[in-house]
């Protein structure tokens, strides 16, 4: 069994690099590239080990670090103190990028400290109950996943009467029709339960279409599906209402 660990410590390669610089208490204008490159690669190894998705961006910066390191290893021609000044420090651009990034990282932190609407500050008219007028008092909502829906679907299918002989039906059904019917039903009643939606559909095809319609509507974020507890009633509401 594989475990997926998600560590959101670093927002990107530059963030990791900044972290290493701070950790080692290094002067950002005089980065010991060899040391930092080594630690950087170690961290990438660790991230790989933890099964983290090491994005290409991390590798790009790794190659930049190694490039700078190799460049700094090359002897400067003539070796005169005067000559070296002509050659720009290979680290210069990286330092600039780091400083640039640091500014915006701080800006982001400052933005986050502002009083945010719907976190620190509220305006009138927020619906406290998320449109739960007709619901039991202590039903707290848990958004259900597709898996729960599939389970509920299976329960309904298996509770159906004995299979009848197939009839070639002339009535044409389309997914779009069923989607529209569900949306109309919801517009009228605000909330419908999963069972209610499937009740009036006795044949398998209708149930299938209903189920597909619900999945499609969820994908389009036009409806939201909630369940109060496991095996509880699954409720469907319009997304715009909440």
């Amino acid at each position: 069994m594989e475990y997926e660990v998600k560590l959101d410590i670093f927002e990107g390669p530059l963030d990791l690099l900044l972290y290493l610089i701070k950790k080692n208490e290094i002067d950002i204008y005089d980065i010991p590239i060899a040391l930092i490159a080594e630690q950087y690669l170690q961290h990438i190894e660790m991230m790989k080990y933890l099964n983290l998705d090491v994005a290409g961006d991390y590798l790009l910066l790794a190659s930049t670090l190694i490039y700078i390191k190799s460049k700094m290893l090359l002897p400067v021609e003539e070796g005169d103190a005067g000559e070296t000044e002509d050659e720009p420090d290979p680290r210069a651009e990286l330092v600039k990028q780091l400083l640039d990034y640091q500014v915006f990282k701080e800006a982001a932190a400052q933005l986050d400290q502002r009083p945010l609407l719907e976190r620190d500050i509220f305006k009138r008219g927020l619906s406290a109950e998320n449109g739960s007028a007709e619901r039991g008092e202590d039903e707290t909502d848990v958004e259900v996943s597709v898996f729960e829906l599939v389970e509920a679907f299976y329960r309904i299918i298996s509770s159906m009467k004995e299979p009848e002989f197939m009839e070639i039906d002339v009535e044409k059904l389309s997914l779009a029709d069923r989607i529209n019917e569900i949306m109309e039903g919801l517009a009228e009643k605000k909330t419908l339960t999963f069972v209610e939606l499937l009740r009036d559909s006795s044949d398998k095809r209708m149930i299938l279409y209903t189920f597909l319609a619900i999945l499609e509507l969820m994908k389009l974020r036009m409806i939201k599906v909630y369940q109060a507890s496991s095996f509880g009633v699954i409720r469907v509401v319009l997304a715009a209402e909440s």
Partner: protein
């Protein structure tokens, strides 16, 4: 005058989104801007002095009644389902857009050192960021900027109210020299 102030108070209260002074004038056209602004300021001060549960605040170029930020704990208790706030990554992207707008994606990528495609898309979906147009350089990349909703969410009067960062100004000159797109002259002959 007291009655006029009451009218202003009432229409701000009834408005769902921040109400501009111009909008107030549409209702009270016999008054001029400065008079209305003065009455509005009176109201702001009154609420400030009262120190009640909410204040009259200037956000996104308008006026709006909002709760006191130090009472958030109690309101959050009422709204059980808490809104998902922005991730750090999204916040960083938003900060770059806010301070550098209009800005193209490649510039945000460069500053953050990662591909910001997904966080930018999330911000567009949340309507915090909008497309401002296309940059007049080869490829015509899309330029992004922040929205009015951004100002509302972050309780800002306007963009100039964004906190200034000490190093920001000095560094801006630095980035100018570094920037690639912005250096391309408009009249490139092909």
């Amino acid at each position: 005058m007291e009655e006029t102030k009451a009218i202003i108070e009432a229409i701000i209260f009834a408005s769902e989104s921040p109400l501009t002074v111009d909008k107030i004038r549409e209702v009270l056209h016999e008054f001029d801007r400065s008079e209305i602004s003065r009455l509005v300021q009176d109201l702001i001060n009154e609420y400030e002095k009262r120190r009640g549960g909410f204040l009259l605040q200037e956000v996104a170029g308008g006026l709006h009644f909002r709760t006191r930020s130090d009472l958030s704990f109690w309101i959050n208790k009422l709204m059980k389902a808490k809104q998902a706030m922005l991730t750090n990554a999204a916040m960083e992207t938003l900060a770059v857009v806010a301070y550098k707008q209009p800005v193209v994606k490649s510039e945000i990528d460069r500053i953050r050192g990662v591909d910001v495609g997904s966080s930018l898309k999330g911000l567009l979906e949340k309507k915090l960021v909008r497309i401002m147009g296309r940059k007049d350089v080869p490829g015509k990349p899309i330029m992004y900027g922040t929205t009015k909703k951004f100002l509302e969410i972050f309780s800002l009067k306007d963009l100039s109210e964004l906190p200034t960062l000490k190093e920001f100004k000095d560094l801006q000159d630095g980035t100018e020299a570094l920037g690639t797109e912005s250096r391309i002259p408009d009249n490139v002959e092909i």
